[in-house]
Amino acid sequence: MNETQVADRVNWVGYVDWSIRDFHGYETTRGSSYNAYLIQDEKNTLIDTVKGPYADDLLRNIQRHITLDKLDYIVCNHAEPDHSGALPVVMASCPQVELICDAKCKATLERYYDIRHWKIRVVKSGDSISIGAYSLQFLETPMAHWPESMATYLPECKLLFSMDAFGQHYATSGRFDDSVPLAVVLEEAKIYYANILMCYERPVNNALDAVKSLAPEILAPSHGIIWRTQVDKILSAYADWSVCKADRKVVILYDTMWQSTAKMAHTLYETVVDSGVQCKLISIRATHITDIVTECLDAAAIAVGSPTLNQTLMPQVAAALTYLMGLKPSGKSGFAFGSYGWGKGGPEAVNEYLEKMKFNILREPLKCQYAPDEQALAACREAGGLLVKAAELVG
């Protein structure tokens, strides 16, 4: 098999985006790929497309296998433009094609594109279409991660086109999990999960149950590498991530103006580390929100520090907490901390975010005026003990 062959008569025909570093605000330090797959059978079928600007690359890749007039079906599993953006070009280039999608996907495509001249067949979960030797089975996975999200199963190959599930923003020349370092692909899958799927616990769990019942041997996501050797590893990782399972790990996030909140953060950090618990000390202004939320995914306890600026929290802390709040990390413990000068407000504003995220709040906001003295640092050490206790509750 070469690097584009996923199964017998199934080939990857997508686009590897080596240069993307900002994916709607998600920092993609290793680039990405938009995976499309061509199944050659009595009815030649394309599974998804690519981002709009790369439509020509997709057409060229399809034409390495068939001429465009031989394409019969396109399955659109997800209407988001990184997978559907090339549809207008592909549909215009292949006017004979019938597009297959679920009802919500059709309604969403209609909002993005002029679909009046497209032939569209609407399918739902449980539907199956024979394309010759192979058949396509459809599995709607609503809110994992858009309402119209769907996966398509090729039972004869035990191959699941899983859409965004199990994907990673990871540009590689190899297409498979056995052609890249496992630690790197798992790290990228974790970053992807934290930033895209964390807030959809219940829908992801529903989708996972459905996937497990199919017992697929190949998971072909719409970004990054294809799982064929380590399917059990990614399924087991998803089982943990999909319940925000905590490690014995503490995360300390902070911003600082004149090093007072930084000193508090460092004192908390030293207390946690001295007790033997793993701890990440993260300067919010020095760290991209993509990495901040990834570290929070498997943290048992999270302390968030902000000085008081204009009677409220620092804007960078607000940005990070707004992003984290939307991603709904579940089951986290923690507290707010930080300094103030005359008027209070920073740590209190942080505390409000933690309350909204339904944190198990371990104590009232830990504060110091202007700069921490020995008494304030002693309070930090005591508060650090609460983080340790919360982490030690994890089995």
């Binding site: 919500k104 809110m143 309402p147 959809y200 219940r202 829908p203 339904k358």
Partner: protein, 52 residues
């Protein structure tokens, strides 16, 4: 009391279970949910729900 299904994502509001994560006690009828209650899965309002 009837169950209601979210038209957007398929979440089912079951009155017997309520939505305790969002302060809705078990036994709360869909009609009695506050006007600003939103689907816990996808965030749309009550007007996007249909009786099962």
């Amino acid at each position: 009391m009837k169950k209601y299904v979210c038209n957007v994502c398929g979440y089912v509001y079951d009155p017997s279970a309520g939505d305790p994560d969002n302060g809705i006690a078990p036994g709360t009828a869909f009609e009695d949910l506050p006007d600003d209650w939103t689907c816990p899965e996808c965030g749309v309002g009550k007007d996007e729900f249909t009786a099962e």
